[in-house]
Amino acid sequence: MSGRVLVGVKRVIDYAVKIRVKPDHSGVVTEGVKHSMNPFCEIAVEEAVKMKEKKLIKEVVAVSCGPQQVQETIRTALAMGADRGIHVEVSAKEYESLGPLQVSKILAALAKKEEAQLIILGKQAIDGDCNQTGQMTAALLDWPQGTFASEVTLEAGHVKVVREIDGGLETIKINTPAVLTADLRLNTPRYATLPNIMKAKKKKIANVKPADLGVELASKLQVLRVDEPPQREAGVKVESVDDLVGKLKEAGRI
């Protein structure tokens, strides 16, 4: 096995920032807004770096798709311990319509090109909340998938994954190469400290275009309109159970 792990990282609006819808309702305001690495991607990077430190794998490659700014996010991954980065260049305009299907195609093509043994992704990004990229990537490659991982054990030729599911925890054993997606409790990501940021400046980030990977970026989805969620209105107090039933019938709920 190549001993190479591909980790996808996404640059998203920081979770503590208040989101503002653009005046033309075409999306949310991103200009000048604080961005950081998707928290689940941080966990994915940490897991890959831990595997390398345990000498279970040889190389961690951080990948991000997007315009120029995503290089900051790749640098953070490099500072956390990734060996090299791949920046898949997507123009700002195309980035607005970039979704999980295109990213999965890109990752699948890269995985084949880099002969990756594992792909580790965050379970979902906190902006889209799609929770699709990992699953689609596995399907495109026809690889097994271990999603919502809260514990990962890499052994020769296969991976044991403890998954967080609605009913509790599920342990599965899947063959490598495989796709894993990280859930919250998988690990606690390390800080990207300043000496590591300085060292990361010397690590390589390769630039690749989606066309070079044979991927079409055109999306079959079109965003019609983005709106803020409706303001939460005050509730209504009722005097009796009959009142409650009456009000529920009025609202068409029963």
Binding site: D14, Y15, A16, V17, K18, R20, P23, E31, G32, V33, K34, H35, S36, T188, P189, R190, Y191, T193, L194, P195, I197, M198
Partner: protein
């Protein structure tokens, strides 16, 4: 009404985390035991930061590797604000002109350049014209020349217009309304293009010294310390950045500057600095209300004539109908019941202000302390190994309400004084002493910065008279407008802002109106708009020298003024678990790094230290 419902979700987690703190015997840590007030509760332990409880005496830190990685630069700049970035850019310009290699590293606690920058602002482009004369071609975000300049004295229901005669300090002809955060971000890009190493997200936490006592550089913050002060698995030491000389540009009331004043006795020949707090909001207004280029200032209502302060409202011209508005309150106010935040909120309801905002949407909020001391409060600016630049020593022209142009010029002058003194460092050789560059102070005193500050030196202190605001305006009219500040005397300030509070029982509580949710808002939803956040599991960076003082002194004598002057709701007095008394709760995650508490605490018990880098507000073009 339970105090818990005032807590944000994050501060709620903070509360529960605090309750889990192990109780350490105060005596063992060298903290003096406090008098027991209530039989059923101990003096609560609030502060866990290592600056109050040193780690070398803490058994939980035994065996932890404390060595730091170190790197050598030629110049290290603390703070990527207008002063720090101007200094860095100027250094690189000089190096380029002489074909020399100079390594300039800038550390900045904000996660991205400009995220902790907050200002009105009406920029006088003088310093920018000197630093980067082709700023327009380079795309500097100066899009809004001032077209209208309005000054008013407000009463509760009416407005008295004051003509903006040329020559008055706040006349803005030739200036630009800017979103300073965006200008700072642009300056950062210019700096990077010139080869400056910018490190946002890393706070300078400690000053390092050579054996001879000169400044050697700084160390960045440690990471991975738990809320109770113990090391976590992710603990890592900060990094040391050594320099031939370190430029400290932390902005108003910097925490390292505070240490340097004490260490080098830099304030022995100047008056204490006096401050104000500035609160600001950015609104998208209805297009019919939008007058791009219009500058409005007011004094008077809702402040009384003895409380210094006033408002600003600027219409930006950057595409969207944006308005930047805010309120400044001098921190020498005496009534502990005064809440600068609530004065700001109620000012917005004035008949002259409200129409602009009606139907609009608030998209940003923030606050920052600013200096008002002027020339009388400038300390010694240089010391072995270091230099103070920008609002940290304080070059703000108070009546003009502008400090950016002087801050930038001070950074440029620092670079010009430092550059010829820099030695060419051989590989593996490091200086054994920091450079002392007194030429910087001399060139500053000979520059237009000093002339400008000297001319306006008496305006702010002239407010300390029986007629307060009106006396000050008369003084300004006579001595500044007519005589250009040439009077031979220099008025003094009143001493420390923290000494000005009167005990609560001598003052009347102020009845503030409830926020209406359309023009005025409550504190917590405002703080949410600042985007501020900190890693929750770290010691609170608002440290108390003595944990018992808040309840025994601040609350008892002054009714807890910190719950009113903090613009982020960090300080709350809540009932103790047994209900027998009150305790101070510090919601450190809400902090917007304004520094007001460190300035105004009447007991001077609060010491603001820098939290883990990247924490703090996420201002966008404020």
């Amino acid at each position: 009404k339970s105090p818990k419902c005032k807590c944000s979700l994050q501060s709620g987690r903070c509360v529960r985390a605090l309750r889990r703190c192990p109780r350490l015997d105060p005596g063992a840590l060298g903290v003096r035991p406090t008098a027991r007030r209530w039989a059923s509760s101990d003096a609560p332990k609030i502060t866990t930061h290592y600056s109050i409880h040193p780690r070398d005496q803490d058994p939980r830190w035994e065996g932890t590797e404390m060595e730091r990685f170190a790197d050598q630069a030629d110049v290290v700049v603390v703070g990527a604000g207008p002063a720090g970035l101007s200094a860095a850019i100027r250094l690189k310009q000089l190096a380029l002109a002489e074909e020399r290699e100079v390594r300039v590293c800038v550390v900045e606690k904000a996660s991205q350049i400009g995220a902790h920058t907050l200002s009105g602002a009406c920029l006088e482009p003088s310093a920018l014209n000197e630093l980067l004369p082709d700023w327009k071609e380079r795309g500097a975000p100066l899009h809004t020349p001032v077209t209208e300049d309005i000054f008013s004295i407000l009463t509760e229901k009416h407005r008295i217009p004051v003509p903006m005669l040329p020559g008055l300090p706040m006349n803005n002809h030739g200036n630009y309304i800017v979103r300073l955060g965006n200008l700072v971000r642009w300056l950062g890009e210019q700096a990077e293009e010139l080869g400056v190493e910018l490190y946002p997200g890393y706070a300078a936490a400690e000053v390092l010294f050579h054996e001879d006592g000169s400044v050697k550089g700084i160390a960045t913050n440690d990471v991975g310390i738990a809320k109770d002060g113990s090391p976590k698995d992710t603990f890592e030491r900060g990094m040391e950045l050594h320099a031939q000389v370190t430029l400290f540009g932390e902005g108003c009331h910097g925490h390292l500057a505070k240490q340097l004043y004490r260490h080098f006795n830099l304030r022995q020949n100047c008056e204490p600095q006096t401050y104000a707090i500035g609160l600001k909001e950015v609104w998208v207004v209805r297009p019919e209300k939008w007058r791009p280029g219009r500058v409005e200032h007011s004094v008077g209502w809702p402040l009384n004539r003895n409380t210094y302060g006033g408002s600003f409202l600027y219409h930006l011209n950057e595409g969207e109908p944006l308005v930047a508005l805010g309120f400044v309150v001098g921190l020498d106010y005496s009534n502990p019941y005064l809440s600068p935040f609530r004065e700001f909120q109620r000012w917005k309801h004035h008949p002259f202000v409200a129409p602009t905002l009606e139907g609009g949407e608030r998209i940003g909020y923030g606050a920052r302390a600013l200096n008002e001391g002027g020339v009388q409060s400038i300390p010694e600016l240089t010391f072995p190994g270091g230099i103070l630049i920008g609002c940290s020593p304080g070059f703000m022209n108070v009546p003009k309400i502008k400090g950016t142009h002087t801050a930038m010029k001070s950074g440029m002058l620092a670079a010009e004084a430092v550059f010829p003194r820099l030695a060419v460092l051989e590989e593996d050789s490091a200086p054994s002493a920091g450079l002392h560059v007194p030429e910087y102070a001399e060139s500053l005193k000979a520059s237009w910065v000093w002339k400008e500050l000297h001319a306006v030196r008496n305006i702010r202190p002239s407010f300390h008279n029986y007629l307060g605001l009106y006396g000050g305006m008369v003084y300004t009219g006579i001595f500044y407008w007519i005589l250009r500040g040439k009077e031979p005397w220099t008025l003094k300030h009143c001493g420390l802002d923290s000494d000005q509070l009167k005990p609560a029982k001598e003052c009347t509580p102020i009845e503030y109106p409830r926020p209406d949710g359309k023009l005025s808002f409550d504190l917590l939803s405002s703080v949410a708009l600042s985007g501020t956040n900190h890693e929750g599991d770290q010691p609170a960076h608002l440290t108390l020298r003595d944990d018992s003082v808040p309840v025994e002194r601040n609350l008892a004598i002054y009714d807890g003024p910190e719950q009113r002057f903090c613009p982020a709701g960090v300080y709350e007095y809540v009932p103790t678990d047994d209900g027998a008394g009150m305790r101070l709760q510090i919601n450190a995650q809400n902090c917007v790094h304004c520094k007001t508490c460190d300035i105004k605490d009447p007991s001077q018990n609060i010491n603001w230290v820098v939290p883990e880098g990247s924490g703090g507000p996420a201002y966008n073009g404020m």
